[in-house]
Subunit: 308 residues, 2 copies
C-alpha cells in the first residue's frame, strides 16, 4: 500500500533562492533541486525551516511547487512543508501538494500560540486531514521545539496514529534530543511510522534503531557523503563514515545555518545572488563566510558539478 | 499632520467569531465591533492575538476588513494587525488596510525564527514601509515577547523612528513588564511615539507617564469601565477606578483568555455559537466557564445591550 512508496534516505530541506528584490527564484530553485537529487538526496523536503518557508506566502509556495514539477522534478520525490499558523493555509497548501502528487507533506503545528493543549493540536491536524480528504495524503509531523516552541508529544502522535493510521506517515524530529528520537522509534516505528532524524549527526543512531533516514539542513551542500552513510549504515566502517559527516556539520553550524548554506552554494556554485535571504534573516558577515569556506576547503569539502 | 488624527484611548483586540464549521462570521463580527464602539472603545485593534488573527489566512482577514467597512464600522477607528511571518503577507495585508483608510496597523515582527537580529527585524519593517509606499501608513509596533518570542527592542524602535518618523506611530507593549513600558515612554513618547499598554492593569500608570491608552483583551467585554478610567485618569479617585477594572481583569485571566472572552460574550449575548474557537485553541471546560461567569456576576459585571 502507501507505505511501499514512501521516501526513505536523505532528504534536504531545500534552501529557497531569492533574487535581489527578494522574489523567489524558480529557475535557481529547480536547478538546485535537480543537483540534490543527482548527488545523494532521495527526496526534497522543500519549504522547511531552512527553506525560509514561513517567510513566504502560500501563493509563493504553490507557485514554486508548480515550477518544480513543471521543471522536471518528480513529485514523488517531494515532501513539502505545509503546516502554517492558520488552519485555512495548512489545508490549502496540503491539498495543493497532494493534488500535484507529492510523496508526502511535512507539517509544523500552528506555532503562534504557545502552551497550547494536545487536544487543540490534535484538532488542528485532524481538521487538515479531514478537509484535504484525500487517501493519498502522507503526513509527516514536524517536531522542532527549539524554533516552533510548540512540541509534538508522544501522546499526540499516539492519538493521531490511532485515528488516522493511513495518513500519519512519520515524523521529522528536530528536537536535537536523541532520547526523544529513541522514544519515538521505540514506541511507533514498528507500526509503520517513519522516523527521520532532523540532523545527520543522528543518522547512524537512527538507522540502528529502526529509523528511515534524515532530513537535514546540510543535505543542501553535503548530500553525497550523508547518503553514503545512509547506504552503508551496516558496514564495518559506519562509525568512521558518520564521524566524517558530523565533522562537516560542525564546521557549518559554527555560523548561522541558513545564510551559511546559501553562502556555500554561492561560493561553490560561483553564483553570488544565492546569498540573498529574506528578512528577518541576514546574510553572513564577510568574516563568518570566510571562516566557514576556509574550514570546509581545509577539510576537502566539495560540491561536485554545482558550478556547471 | 497625521498625528492629529491618531487614535487614543481604549482599543479592543476584537475576538473573531467563527461558525460551527470554523469559517469566520462577518455578521457577528460587525455587530460586536459596533457594540464595542458604542460602549467605550475608541478604536478596534482587529486581528490581534486575542482575535486568533494568525489562525486566519490573509484572504480571510481582508474579507473581514472589507465586511467591517461595508457594514458601517468607520475605517478611522480601525487598527488591524497586519504583521505576519512572511514579508509578502505583511505587505499585502498592510497595503490593503491602508487603502481601506484604516487609522493604523499593529504589526507583529516575523515570529517563526527565534533569536533573530535587530538588523533583520529592521529590514522587515523597512521593507513593509517601502513596499506599501503610502504616506498615510501609521505603523504601531507590536511587542509581545511572551507569545511571539521575538522582542521589539528599544534600539530597534530608535532606528525605525529615526528613518521613518512619519510612518512609525507607536507601540503596543504586551510584555507585561511595566519597566519596559516606562522605558519606551521615557525615551520615545515626546517624539510623537504613542505608547499603548497591552493590558488595562497598566492603564493609569501609562497615562501618568505620557502614554495614550491601552489595547486590551478585556476591552472586548468590559470597555465601558476601562474607558471611564481612561477619561478620568487625572481625577482624585483614579486609583480606585483603576482597582475596579484590574479586579475584573483578574477574574477573567484565571482561565485561558481567548475562550474566556468568547464564553462571556456567548453568555451575556445569549449566543452560544460565539464560544467557537479555531484550533489550536479549545473552548473553556464547562467548569472553567461556570467559574468565570459566576465570579463576574458576583462582581456586578454586565455587558449592557449586548443581548439585543
Amino acid at each position: 500500500m502507501a507505505a511501499a512508496k514512501r521516501i526513505t534516505g536523505v532528504l534536504s530541506p531545500v534552501v529557497t533562492p531569492f533574487r535581489k528584490d527578494l522574489s523567489p527564484d524558480a529557475g535557481r530553485f529547480v536547478a538546485h533541486c535537480k543537483w540534490l537529487l543527482a548527488n545523494g538526496c532521495s527526496g526534497l523536503a522543500v519549504f522547511g525551516t531552512n527553506s525560509e518557508a514561513n517567510s513566504m506566502s502560500v501563493e509563493e509556495k504553490l507557485e514554486l511547487l508548480d515550477a518544480l514539477v513543471k521543471g522536471g522534478v518528480p513529485a514523488s520525490a517531494l515532501m513539502p512543508g505545509t503546516g502554517a499558523c492558520a488552519l485555512s493555509d495548512s489545508v490549502r497548501l496540503t491539498a495543493g501538494a497532494v493534488k500535484m502528487g507529492c510523496a508526502g507533506v511535512l507539517m509544523l503545528p500552528p506555532f503562534y500560540y504557545k502552551g497550547v493543549s494536545d487536544e487543540g493540536l490534535y484538532r488542528n491536524f485532524a481538521e487538515v486531514i479531514e478537509r484535504v480528504g484525500d487517501a493519498r495524503l502522507q503526513l509527516y509531523l514536524y517536531h522542532i521545539p527549539p524554533v516552533s516552541h510548540v512540541p509534538i508529544t508522544l501522546g499526540l502522535i499516539e492519538r493521531l496514529l490511532e485515528k488516522y493510521p493511513q495518513a500519519i506517515a512519520g515524523v521529522k524530529d528536530s528536537s536535537g534530543d536523541w532520547n526523544n528520537t529513541k522514544a519515538m522509534l521505540d514506541r511507533f516505528a514498528a507500526r509503520g511510522f517513519d522516523v527521520f532524524a532532523g540532523s545527520e549527526t543522528f543518522l547512524l543512531d537512527n538507522m540502528r534503531n529502526g529509523g528511515k533516514g534524515c532530513i537535514t539542513a546540510t543535505g543542501n551542500v553535503n548530500p553525497g557523503p550523508i547518503d553514503h552513510v545512509y547506504r552503508n549504515w551496516m558496514a564495518a566502517n559506519a562509525d568512521q563514515l558518520q564521524a566524517g559527516i558530523t565533522a562537516t556539520r560542525h564546521i557549518v553550524q559554527k555560523v548561522p545555518m541558513i545564510p551559511a548554506l546559501k553562502a556555500i552554494i554561492a561560493h561553490w556554485g560561483k553564483d553570488p545572488e544565492w546569498r540573498t535571504v529574506r528578512p528577518p534573516l541576514v546574510e553572513l558577515a564577510a568574516a563568518q563566510e570566510r571562516q566557514v569556506i576556509a574550514e570546509l576547503e581545509a577539510a576537502g569539502f566539495d560540491m561536485p558539478g554545482l558550478a556547471g
